[in-house]
Every structure is written in C-alpha cells, then in structure tokens.
Amino acid sequence: MSLRVRAKLVRDTFVLDVDLELPARGIVTLFGPSGCGKTTLLRCLAGLERPEPGLIRLNGQLWQDSAAGCFVPPHRRGVGYVFQEPVVFPHLSVLGNLEYAHRRVPEARRHVSLERAVELLGLPELCDRAPANLSGGQRQRVAIGRALLTSPGLLLMDEPLAALDLASRAEILTRVLELREELDVPIVYVTHSGAELARVADYVVLMEQGRVTHHGPLAELIGRLEPFILDQQDVEAVLELTVDSHDDELCSTHLTFAGGSLFVPRRQAPVGKRLRLVVRARDVSLALEPAKRTSILNILPCRIVSLSERSPGEVLVRLDAAGTALWSLVMRRSALALGLAPGVRVYAQIKAVSLA
C-alpha cells in the first residue's frame, strides 16, 4: 500500500521538486508555510497539474509516467478532491450535487453508497436545499460528501478548514476524523496549521520552498514539529490513548497510554480503540506532590524538560510523561515558588481534555 510521487513543476519563480514514497493508508499530512508547494503537489496527485518529469503511482495504478508519455486525466483517476474554499454546483440541489458524483462511478466500483455519505456528513436535512442558502461549513460538508461518492481510491483535501469559521472548523474536523475510522480510504491532507496537523496526521510530510525537508510517521517527527506547536496562540499537546474501560454508572471512560491513564466523560468508542485527545497548556497545572482531596481526577507524573517565557508573567513548561510531550502554562510567580527547573519531577494536573 504505497503512493509513489516524483514531480517537478516550474511556475515563474517557484519550483516544486519532490521524490517520495508515501504510505497509502490513514492520513498523510502535507505540512508547511503558505507558498511551499503543498497545494501544487496535491494538484499533481489529482492530475490538475502535469509535472514534468512526473511519476505518480497509487499501489498498482499508474497515473502518470512522463517518461512513457502516460497521463491519466483527473476524471479517470478515481480521486476525491476537497478544495480549500467549498465548491458546490450552484445549479444543483445538495442531493443533486451528491448524485452528480455518484452517477459517474460504475456500479461495480462503488464502495460508498449515497445513504452512507449523507449519514457520515450529517446531510439528511440539507438534501433538498439549494446551495445558495447554505453556510460555509454546510457547503464544505456537501463538498466532502460529494468527494466520497466518487468512491475514491485516494481522498485529497486541500486545507478544508481554512475558509471556514471556528465553529464549522471543529465540526468538519470531527467528520474528517470519523472518515478515517469509518472508511478504508487513504487521505492526503494539506494544512499549514500545527493544531490541525497534530489532530489528524498519521504520517507527516514537511515541506519548504517546493521541497520536502522531512517525512515520517507523526510520532517520529514530533520533535521537529515543536516550533510550529509553540507558534500557535494556544499551545496544546495531542495524546494518543487506548480505550481501557467504560463505567456506565458514573458515565466515564478510562483511557491509558504509556505515561499513565485518564478519565473522561463517557465516549462512544469500543474498548481497545485508539483516540486522540487534546490537552491545552492552560488546562494543565503543576504540583510537586500528588494532591489529595481534589476534584482533579487526571494527574500524571512527569519530568520537566525545559521552561520558556511565554509572556512577561507566564512560563511555558515542557513536560515528559514517559515519552509523550505535555505542556503546562504557569505563572512566573508559581514557577519561582515551586522551584521549577529542568529535571524536576512534578505532577501534571489536567483540568480538561477535549476530543481531537
């Protein structure tokens, strides 16, 4: 299961030049600053650009081989493409938009039904609506649903959240993560947001000025990604945990990972399933001893790795919980009073977690 890409494309002063072998499973994230060529590379995969020389192969299917003069046009590649700004046919209803894609897939090749796409994207009540009356988030849901209905062998998403308001972003992100769980379709996802990256990526391709600087599984690259995480307004850690058990009486779910375990409000997920949870630095406080008689359930033993000044009164503490990075934002006063320094063992008290 692999995606082979070799592409060179010259546009005025910009040169895209990549040579990669990517896993064709889970979510591969193309990550880098604006103008680094992520979108251009994605367009090459879809056949919307024609790199020269270019070699693109998904598993056994050859999509382009410029040496052999082979180029499969976009409509024959069986890829789903989601554009940054939601694109919806204005002359068709929501259902019409979905059917447009569905009708063009031979029955034998269909692996996503109309009903399934409508359900996955939460579209039942929108089906009869005209696109003119939809919000940005609703349009993007239609666009994703339509992309799924091509029964794609590869789903390409170009910053699908960037053009949306905050509330819609969270919703679309949740849907994308559900797709990864529910459908066996590899996704190539373009983003320049560190927060999105940490939530969705299984495999990361770091790009800069048209070239790939690093690529590998998220866990292996997490060190390189730290600058981007710190660059965000809200520093946060993304933990990957396994569902251990549910307590129906108290409506809680118990999750474990190498660094310890957490309780969260009851989640609809089978035991053994892996979940990503987001822990914001400002929701983590530190104690030198495990607190007793406190309402905070989730306390993880950690070691301080480093401290850095976040603002004149605040210090950002990087923690290590058995190999997993965690962040805590504390007052400078507290840091001084507790004598926080690299190497010190502390207890991270997590006030809140949210689903990635």
Binding site: A46, G47, L48, P73, P74, H75, R76, R77, G78, V79, G80, Y81, F83, E85, V87, F89, P90, H91, Y100, A101, R104, V105, A130, A132, A143, R146, A147, L149, T150, L156
Partner: protein
C-alpha cells in the same frame, strides 16, 4: 391594416430570424466556449473578426457577400460548377449574411457567460468523474444559461432589424427575400405612410416586448443563483 403580402413579409422575416438564431446557437456556442477557455495567443485575432460586424457598415459586409455569393464569386461560382445555383438574392444567401452580421450578438454574451464560471467549478467536476464533454454539457451550459438566452434573443431581434446586408444580398423578392425592414423602406419611399407606420409600430412593440421578457427572465435567474 395588414394586407396579405405584409403577412408574407412578416413570415419571411420570422423564418430568417429563427433559422439565423438556430445556426448561430449551434455554431456560436462551441466558438464562444473555445474563446472563453483558450490561452492561445492568436485568440485576439478571432475575437476581432467576431466583433467586426459591430463596427463595419452593413453595406460593406453586404457588398463582399454579394461578390462572394454571386455567380462569379468564390462560393457562387463553385456552386454553379457543381450544378447548383449561386446564392445572391436567395433565402440561403440571406441566412449566411444574417449569421455573419449577428455573429457578435450571439458569441459575445455566451463567451462572457462561460468566462464567468470559475475554473474551480470545472476542476471539481473533473475530480468527480466528468470528462471534458460531460463538463461542457452538465456544468458549462446550465451555468451559462443567462448568457445563452441573451444571445438567442439579441440574435433574433438583431436579425429582424437588419437592413443594410439585406439590401445588398437580398434582392427584395416578395415571399423569398423581402423582409420587414425592406418593406417599411419601400412604403416610406412610396409615401404610403399608413402602412409604413403600421409595420414600424408593430416592430417597435415586438422588440420592446422581447427585451422586457429577457430582462425579467434574467432577473429571475439571478435570484435563483445568488
């Protein structure tokens, strides 16, 4: 009021306008599509040729047509050689003249409508499995419907109103090439003001009504699309 020969003239005029509109719809749509999409540098030349009838005196166009379609012209002589008949002073000749004369009125609104459709929409259609011809039929045509309607109506109305070209290549033969504008000219010259006024008034009301319908329909489309 209208006499029998006036009704015949109205019939010829309507037939000419309808045939011209159909021919230009069939030929002008692909041309407009191509002009809207091509990046070829020679495109400006084609655009200039299409727009030429807007600035050229109709009599100039008519003169060249007469020369070309007549018994000694390039097209006329060829037809005669193969046992046909030259096209000067014939209905077919009038159709050819009208098509050339109304070409910009058909092509320009459609070209503008095609060009207004975002490239993204076509790219998206391609990624959901629509090939080039499929995209033209199911995306370009429905989204350009306002421009296509405008093109049809302008072509029809403009053909009804043409005079100079008809004067040169038509020959004013009743029942075959005599159209309304010619009839009005003849009546006015013969000082038959009653009939000139009747036909002129009729044409004025018809043209006005047609344009009102177009603008009203376009407004409805606008409301649906936005």
């Amino acid at each position: 009021m209208l006499r029998a020969d006036d009704l015949v003239t109205i019939g010829v005029t309507a037939r000419l306008a309808a045939v011209t509109t159909l021919v230009l719809l069939a030929a002008g749509t692909p041309l407009a599509w191509w002009l809207a999409r091509t990046h070829w540098r020679g495109k400006v030349l084609v655009e200039a040729v299409v727009a030429l009838p807007l600035v050229l005196p109709p009599t100039v166009l008519g003169y060249y047509l007469l020369v070309c379609l007549g018994p000694h012209g390039a097209l006329g002589a060829t037809l005669e050689r193969f046992g046909g008949h030259h096209l000067a002073f014939s209905f077919a000749g009038l159709v050819i003249g009208s098509c050339l004369y109304s070409l910009p009125f058909a092509v320009q609104p459609m070209q503008a409508a095609f060009a207004a459709i975002g490239e993204r929409t076509f790219e998206m259609a391609a990624t959901v499995g629509a090939g080039p011809f499929d995209r033209f039929l199911t995306v370009a045509l429905p989204l350009a419907r306002r421009g296509i309607l405008t093109a049809c109506v302008l072509t029809f109305a403009h053909t009804v109103g043409e005079f100079g070209v008809v004067l040169m290549v038509g020959g004013n033969i009743p029942g075959s090439t005599r159209v309304l504008s010619m009839a009005i000219y003849d009546y006015a010259e013969a000082l038959d003001h009653g009939r000139a006024a009747a036909l002129s008034g009729g044409l004025l009301i018809f043209s006005m009504a047609l344009l009102i319908v177009v603008y009203a329909v376009n407004r409805r489309f606008e409301r649906i699309q936005v």
